[in-house]
Symmetry: C2
Subunit: 102 residues, 2 copies
């Protein structure tokens, strides 16, 4: 639904990037600390499939980093890149808004 017209607007770009139901919630969680796949899965109550897709997308966009330690069973941690961590202000303001108005 994001059209060409939106792509020239910085706000439109941000919405196109994290303006879905859970991308920003992933960022919110990772702003707190790096987390495992299953931790995110539980926190967000999202399906495995969707979480995997969103994480891949966010990784591809340079928002999220994936780090795997060679253990068995597998252990993977997701954290924010600098670009991802820069969402801190947005998330903080949203939190402030939510507390005050919702």
């Amino acid at each position: 639904m994001i059209r060409q017209a939106e792509k020239s607007c910085p706000v439109g770009k941000v919405v196109a990037l994290v303006g879905d139901s859970c991308s920003l919630l992933i960022v919110r969680d990772l702003l707190d600390s790096a987390k495992r796949f299953s931790e995110l899965e539980n926190s967000l109550s999202v399906s495995t499939r969707t979480l995997a897709k969103k994480l891949k997308l966010l990784e591809h966009e340079g928002i999220v980093m994936r780090k795997e330690t060679k253990d068995s069973p597998a252990c993977v941690r997701y954290s924010l890149t600098k670009k991802g961590a820069a969402f801190q202000k947005v998330v903080d303001d949203m939190r402030a808004y939510g507390k005050k108005y919702l």
Copy 2:
């Protein structure tokens, strides 16, 4: 997709409210100034149907105000309530983010 678990988090609430493809873009436009239906329609490149639905939702949530002046043809202006205008910071932060990183 927004689950119960998210409703206890202020950020989750905000995302549930404006975390779709165009609600926040409507707010962005109205932060600039009050606008008519058709202005929003053109600016957002969204279908009549969708815009009408989102505006109703935002009005119902107390974010947007609808003012009709009894003219012919009809003239309707949408503007932000105080609750809606409070999104200024969030939108500004998103704009700053978009300019810097996207």
